[in-house]
Amino acid sequence: MKVINLDETREKLSNKVLNNIKASHDLGLLRCVQCGMCTSVCPGAKHSNYNPRYMVEKVLENDEKIIENKDIWNCFYCYTCHSVCAVGNSPCEVNQILRQIAIDNGKEDEKLKYFASYGETFLDIGIGGMPKSFFMTLHEDIEGWLDFKAELEEIRKELSLGPIQMPQESIEEVRKLLNKMNFDKRVKRLKKEEKE
């Protein structure tokens, strides 16, 4: 049986999530009525044991074990839960914050290593993007993807959008900053772990 003690305060996991820098200022976490709409549209929930409603429930119950729950790593940030939520909550955002807490606790390199290639793109092009190593697989799955990629700058010009590529000097600057933070070393280490 769970006991809710009289002197238990609201200084809880939910507050930690709400006060996290990643949380939107009007995140409806506390307004959640557990309707399960998020889970009903979640591709992660369809193919794995991940359940965004359950994850939010655990956050609201102040159950810190959810941070170490391996299932939360099955969300792939499609934001469908975010767009359907009727109370302005975003399970996806909550998920990202929980993962960050897990990473900060230093326990999740095992899960993090699969993201190493994404990390590399920050060093390569100055922003997050699709890792080069995925290009061929994507081209196999999506017909004409490489051609689209090659002509992207042209298409953007036609739509009077600016270039997607950052100026070289800005990329240099970002790289310099990241190197100062030892970001490059961390990515390299994770990359190595991934290969092993």
């Binding site: 307004r31 309707c35 399960g36 998020c38 889970t39 009903s40 929930a45 409603r53 009727a86 302005g88």
Partner: protein, 776 residues
């Protein structure tokens, strides 16, 4: 006669009688009455044990007549409790020539013995000075026309009309559609919370429609809209536009021959566009007027109907008609509409024929519906094996195109329709996917009854409805009670759509300048204690125009709004006379006052400006913008405030401190509560009750501060329409005071609430201490 004579007298020659009440010791145990009497300068100064008794009445009256008194001061309890009584006791004197000095709630109950006698003398002096400036005025009686316009002829409008018409009041029902009856005619069956059974809704409604038709005092105007309207001293002037019916309903015998020969087929909106009707049609068999009408948008003017009509009732060239209508009250019964299911593309409405709404299901299940009551999957001839109902579509949803509120009736609607299906087709599986079941009160019994009948309930809100490879619908939902991700295969889905405000509600609110809520429903004057009243006097609301509700609640509101209409009609309304008046010789029609009036009381008629006495609060805001000084408020209020301040500051002793406090009705009641609860505040506090805090001008405040008051405290209830204005005004005044060499900290503006009397006593104490610390 007495009034005229006295009002012309010089102030100093007025004969004033002061009557002091001992209040059975409540006052006399603390206040030294003998000392008070010897310090008051008046024609008559008398004391009584209980002034409010019948003996007191006789004494006051005898004194007024024998001593030919011009003015009376009653020094007793609070005017909040006994003002009406003493206004009656001073007859034959005009009631407004009497003032009450509050020696109980604001003197003997809040101060110690040594302080209260001096305070009592001051309060009586203030009242004496005030009555010297009082003018005899009479309450204004407004008579309003004994007629009512009800906008909307659904169950709410019909119920209100019947209730009003039965008291011999002329009632007009203005209905936009070709028939009265509203949404209730379409829903097929209804159930009441105490009955575990469904009943035919038309069988309940039809007798009411018939009664409405036969009631002499009710005039039904169908195909009619209000196109403009305004309200002037209790009269609404409406301009109606009656669209042509093209068929004279007095001649038409509804034989239906025209319908047979009409070649045009169009979708029938009575059946939610699931069947066809002709261009010449009757909405449904029991519709009123019992006559056909032509849908001119689709009519080809072939003339077949004209030729066949033996009654010569058809005129294809009929034109629209404008009808002016003056009534005393208006009831908005403009109903609701439903959330647009296309705004939720993930539920596949329109993409899949098998996804329908509860209203469409009701038509399908209706014996007068497109399938004559047979349940079939739309687009096929088969009965469904399973129906999944999705709750809260557009309700309880914070997304921008939806509604945050609960639509209140959908849980019951879904259960009802599910139960009807289960009853007729026991083999059809019915599943309701819900967020929360909200079946309050007796409805819970019906909910349990439905569960007993085998209706399945899944607690989860579906996120998507798709079709699988077998071409079956799949409802994706999490069963949140079992933590299972479920894909329900089904051959039919029913969406429970949110109730939202109708276009008619928004239009009429705009025309009559009636306030709406953030959800565009008609806003009540106070959602808690003034239901069915709107922010425009004489305009009321009932039914779903005010918000989501069921039929029973709609009828209750309709009856309540009818009762409110009787209140207005019966003997008219008596209004306190302290309201704004226009001097037409001075008014130059600049119209500045119109937009400044927060009470929507000023309007233009025939190029002249009028003030509606029914809604004017006497706040005086219009006075301050009138460059011509053409607006006055009866009762000499401005002078009375100066005189009261003067009286309060009279005979100020050396070292004595006086703070003048201005409070409106709410603040004054809060101050009385301090006394009733026997709390204390400093004796420097001297409270002046004003009709509206807005009537206290910067000049009054500066006058008080320059003539001996150490501080001025203004308290106002934040719910007052003028609150923001007054707050701004005081802030401006502080700057002005500083220029005049007055420390602005001597002026304080504060919120007051009736239950917050402890806080008010505390504020008085803090302000008194603050004044002590100011050395100017």
């Amino acid at each position: 006669m007495i009034n005229k004579k006295t009002s012309n007298k010089d102030d100093s020659k007025l004969k004033i009688g002061v009557f002091i009440c001992r209040c059975g010791g409540n006052i006399s145990d603390t206040v030294d009455i003998e000392k008070v009497k010897s310090n008051i300068d008046a024609e008559v100064v008398e004391e009584f044990e209980n002034l409010c008794s019948i003996n007191g009445k006789k004494n006051i009256r005898d004194n007024i007549l024998n001593n030919k008194l011009d003015r009376v001061v009653i020094a007793s309890c609070s005017p909040i409790s006994h003002e009406k009584i003493f206004q009656d006791y001073v007859k034959p004197l005009n009631p407004y020539l009497m003032d009450m000095a509050n020696l109980r709630e604001q003197c003997s109950w809040v101060h110690d013995k040594d302080k209260s006698t001096a305070k009592a003398i001051t309060l009586i002096n203030a009242s004496i000075e005030k009555v010297k400036k009082s003018h005899p005025v009479n309450p204004i009686v407004c008579q309003i026309p004994e007629s009512v316009a009800i906008i909307g002829g659904g169950i709410s409008g019909i119920s209100a009309a019947l209730s009003i018409a039965k008291t011999d009041v002329k009632t007009y029902i203005i209905e936009e559609k070709a028939t009265i009856g509203g949404n209730m005619v379409k829903i097929g069956k209804v159930f009441s919370p105490v009955k575990i059974a469904e009943e035919c809704s038309l069988c309940l409604l039809n007798p009411l429609i018939n009664e409405t038709v036969w009631e002499d005092n009710i005039e039904i105007l169908t195909k009619t809209k209000v196109i403009s309207g305004s309200r002037k001293s209790g009269t609404f002037s409406l301009l109606l536009e009656k669209s042509p019916r093209y068929i004279d309903d007095a001649l038409c015998i509804a034989c239906g021959k025209c319908n047979e020969v009409c070649p045009v087929k169009v979708l029938d909106d009575f059946n939610e566009n699931m069947s066809y009707r002709k261009a010449i049609y009757k909405p449904f068999s029991q519709s009123y007027p019992d006559a056909y009408t032509i849908d001119m948008e689709n009519c080809k003017k072939c003339g077949n109907c004209v030729k066949i009509c033996k009654m010569n009732a058809i005129n294809l060239e009929e034109e629209k008609e404008l009808i002016p209508l003056n009534v005393g009250s208006v009831i908005l019964a403009t109903g609701h509409k439903l959330f647009n299911p296309k705004a939720r593309p993930e539920y596949g409405y329109e993409r899949y024929d098998e996804v329908i709404t509860q209203n469409e299901l009701a038509r399908i299940m209706g014996v007068n519906g497109p399938t004559k009551g047979e349940l079939k999957i739309p687009g096929s001839k088969k009965a469904p094996k399973r129906i999944v109902m999705v709750q809260c579509v557009g309700s309880r949803d914070e997304k921008p195109n939806a509604h945050k509120y609960c639509s209140k009736v959908c849980c019951m609607v879904a259960l009802k329709n599910a139960n009807i299906i289960k009853h007729k087709y026991p083999d059809t599986d019915v599943i309701i996917c819900y967020t929360d079941m909200r079946t309050t009160g007796m409805y819970e019994k019906y909910y349990k009854h439905c569960q007993d009948n085998g209706i399945r309930l899944i607690r989860g809100r579906p996120g998507e409805i798709i079709k699988n490879q077998e071409d079956n619908l799949v409802v994706k939902v999490e069963d949140t009670l079992t933590r299972e991700f479920v894909e329900i295969e089904t051959d039919m889905v029913v969406l429970s759509l949110a109730i939202e405000s109708s276009d008619g509600t928004r239009e009429i609110a705009k025309q009559l300048d009636i306030g709406l809520t953030e959800d565009f429903f008609v806003k009540e004057a106070h959602p808690k204690i003034k239901p069915v009243a709107t922010d425009v006097k004489g305009a009321f609301v009932c039914g779903t125009a005010q918000g989501p509700k069921d039929i029973t609640e709609s009828i209750m509101q309709a009856n309540a709004s009818a009762a409110k209409v009787f209140e207005l009609i019966h003997k008219g309304i008596e209004i306190e006379p302290f309201i704004a008046e226009i001097d037409y010789e001075l008014c130059n029609n600049c119209k500045e006052c119109i937009s400044r009036c927060k009470h929507k009381s000023i309007y233009i008629e025939d190029k002249e400006i009028f003030i509606d006495p029914m809604s004017c609060s006497g706040c005086g805001e219009c006075l301050s913008v009138c460059k011509q000084s053409a607006i006055t408020i009866q009762g000499n209020i401005n002078e009375k405030i100066y005189a009261t301040i003067k009286g309060m500051l009279k005979n100020k002793q050396k070292g004595e401190k006086k703070i003048i406090v201005f409070l409106d009705q709410i603040g004054y009641t809060a101050a009385d509560n301090i006394g009733i609860n026997r709390l204390q505040y400093p004796e420097s506090i001297h409270i002046i009750k004003v009709h509206s805090v807005n009537r206290v001008t910067p000049d009054h405040i500066i006058y008080a501060l320059k003539n001996g008051a150490e501080g001025v405290f203004i308290g106002e209830y934040p719910g007052d329409l003028m609150y923001d204005k007054v707050e701004k005004k005081i802030n401006k005044l502080k700057k002005y005071a500083e220029k005049q060499g007055i420390n602005p900290d001597r002026i304080q503006f504060s919120k007051v609430y009736i239950p917050y009397f402890t806080g008010l006593a505390q504020k008085f104490k803090i302000f008194d201490e603050k004044i002590n610390s100011i050395s100017n």
